[in-house]
């Protein structure tokens, strides 16, 4: 519980025009980071341009025989309903990416706002919010997610909500710690001494200094979110069939594991590729931009 507090207190207030070029040069030097970037590119591209590649309608049943092995027509075989596994796998990346984007995006915004309030507001509000953050953080991951899904029913929006709720406290805590470190800094005092309003101080002078480390943290959470989404899909608690989704494909594969290995392969490999890609890329981002962010989250 304590390790989170120290993250990102060292505000990196670097800014220069050639930053993008310098970043790309550093990324090129980081071999794992490059590998991650390539994997991420593959995953994102196939999700976006998937419809151009697919050979069959991913949700039409009985386009082929049931549980067939790979063939020229069905590159990765077919599932128990005779749907084309290759097309389903290509399209199955959309949901995890969408979920990651939506859930982490909202967690980021909410975490940012609550963190700023906790860090800048009165002490009692800070304590109250901290208690709230710590409480959510002591809910048990997937088990808590399952409980929420039991209440709301399995759907993509339940998954997004659950992930947003459980990721938010860490962001809020980081923002809070950093806000507290900055709130007594000379330049914030200087702004206040000029009569700047609290809103202006938060938006113009606090936010830009807090958001950098936060974005790195968020990017490092992407693989975990993909894993949770796929895991819930695997348990049948994610997106509803027949929408293609890696976790759901893996679940089909698990059910028919004695008949064919291909569904397991088709569902699992993309999950591994996506999580590894985002992990390597995230680590590289952190190493480049903010080496002080702690590794052991």
């Amino acid at each position: 519980m304590t390790s989170i507090d120290t993250i990102g207190t060292e505000a990196t207030a670097r800014h220069n025009p050639g930053a993008l070029g310098a970043f790309l040069r550093q990324l090129l030097k980081n071999r794992l980071g490059m590998l991650g970037a390539v994997l991420v590119l593959v995953v994102v591209a196939s999700a976006i341009f998937g419809p151009l590649f697919i050979t069959h309608d991913p949700i039409r049943i009985m386009v082929g025989p049931r549980l067939a092995g790979p063939s020229a027509d069905f590159l990765l075989g077919t599932d128990q309903l005779g749907r084309d596994t290759f097309s389903r796998t290509i399209m199955g990346g959309r949901i995890p990416l969408l979920v990651a984007f939506a859930s982490l995006g909202s967690a980021l915004v909410v975490g940012l706002v609550l963190g700023l309030i906790a860090g800048f507001g009165p002490g009692w509000l800070d304590s109250l919010l901290l208690l709230f953050f710590d409480t959510i953080r002591s809910f048990p991951g997937i088990i808590f997610a399952l409980a929420i899904i039991a209440l709301l029913g399995p759907s993509m929006s339940s998954v997004i909500l659950v992930i947003a709720i459980t990721s938010m406290p860490i962001y809020a805590r980081v923002v809070r710690t950093q806000t507290q470190a900055l709130r007594n800094s000379d330049y914030i005092d200087a702004e206040r001494s000029m009569g700047a309003s609290t809103m202006r101080i938060l938006a113009v002078h606090m936010l830009p200094n807090v958001v950098g480390p936060l974005l790195i943290l968020v990017s490092m959470d992407v693989p975990a979110v993909i894993a949770v989404e796929a895991g819930l899909g695997f348990l049948g608690m994610g997106v509803r069939p027949p929408t293609p989704d890696w976790g759901a494909i893996l679940n089909d594969g698990y059910s028919y594991i004695n008949q064919t290995p291909w569904l397991v392969i088709a569902g699992g490999i993309p999950i591994v590729v996506a999580t590894l890609g985002f992990t390597f890329l995230g680590e590289a981002l952190r190493d480049i931009f903010d080496p002080k962010l702690r590794k052991d989250l």
Partner: protein, 312 residues
């Protein structure tokens, strides 16, 4: 320290109370009648009303919360109307399986990771160190259920070396049935622990008395095992406390994949059956576990490092 201890314990209790209250409010914020969902579409109003009464849903929210807390103090988590048994009995019957799985996984992971971490620290930036670093990041990233399904596919289905599912019967058979599940759960921890041990070992090896021992010509491995490791291992233990949430999540998947009993399997069944009392019971018990373990690890941390006491 005493001051910190008291504050930390008060915080732990507050978190548990807040957590349970939040859970309760969540259940009631959701539209829909739990009793109606439980009974299905063909239920008559009388059946619903009866179930309502049985589950205590007909009373005001505050009364329900207070009743629940009062029960909690007695170790009572409510009553499961399906099986006509107390929720606590059901949950605590499954808990040992999960804890066994977690302990075995952590044990083998640590048994491999600690020497690996020591070696990495001693031969810093060697080929082994660097590759362990990469593999560690990779194994931490790959989700446990993918590991589990692949382990199942390769070792049980394709190679038929190991039993696929179930807890096994008797001690030896039980252990054999634990091999694949604990592999799937522990593999990520090998990387994680070895990196932690490496980091704190590097810190410890840089300290004065260790350098002194080295200047006496004591062999490197002996220094590591006799002097540095006991110091370096403590921070690792405190991180393990925080990892309990992680392990519990992994256990859910592993139990489902390998069809093992345990609270992970229990909650998945309960969610599928919309059996709210059981769901709530599992969440409360696991939240308890997490709060206890984070509290303990914070306390250990604080006793090791006075600076940690300032934060709270």
């Amino acid at each position: 320290m005493l001051f910190y201890l008291c504050k930390r314990l008060v915080l732990a209790v507050t978190i548990i109370v807040t957590a349970v209250t939040l859970l309760f409010l969540m259940i009631h914020a959701v539209p829909g009648d739990p009793a109606a969902i439980l009974l299905g579409p063909r239920a008559t109003p009388e059946m619903k009303a009866h179930l309502h009464q049985q589950m205590g849903l007909d009373r005001p929210l505050v009364v329900q919360i207070v009743t629940f807390f009062r029960g909690l103090l007695r170790g009572d988590l409510g009553y499961d109307v399906f099986s006509q048994r107390p929720v606590a009995d059901i949950v605590f019957a499954q808990l040992p399986y999960t804890i066994e799985l977690i302990l075995v996984s952590i044990f083998w992971a640590a048994a491999i990771a600690v020497p690996l971490g020591c070696y990495s620290a001693m031969r810093r930036n060697s080929l082994l160190d660097e590759s362990v670093g990469v593999v560690a990041v990779a194994t931490i990233a790959i989700p446990s259920f993918v590991m589990a399904v692949y382990a199942l596919l390769i070792f049980a289905v394709a190679l038929r070396w190991l039993p696929a599912i179930g807890p096994g019967e008797g001690f030896v058979d039980g252990l054999v049935h634990l091999v694949l599940p604990s592999f799937a759960m522990g593999i990520g921890w090998v990387g994680y622990i070895s990196r932690l041990v490496r980091a704190s070992m590097l810190e410890t090896l840089g300290e004065n008395h260790i350098r002194m021992a080295r200047s006496f010509g004591i062999s490197e491995w002996r220094i590591v095992y006799r002097y540095a490791l006991p110091l370096a291992i403590l921070p690792t233990i405190t991180v393990l406390g925080v990892g309990v949430a992680w392990l519990l999540s992994a256990a859910v998947f592993v139990e489902v994949v390998f069809a093992r009993p345990g609270i992970g399997a229990l909650i998945v069944q309960a969610v599928n059956a919309r059996n709210y009392p059981i769901v709530m019971g599992v969440v409360v018990v696991t939240t308890f576990l997490i709060v206890i373990s984070t509290t303990v690890s914070d306390l250990v941390n604080a006793s090791l490092d006075p600076r940690a006491r300032e934060k709270l």
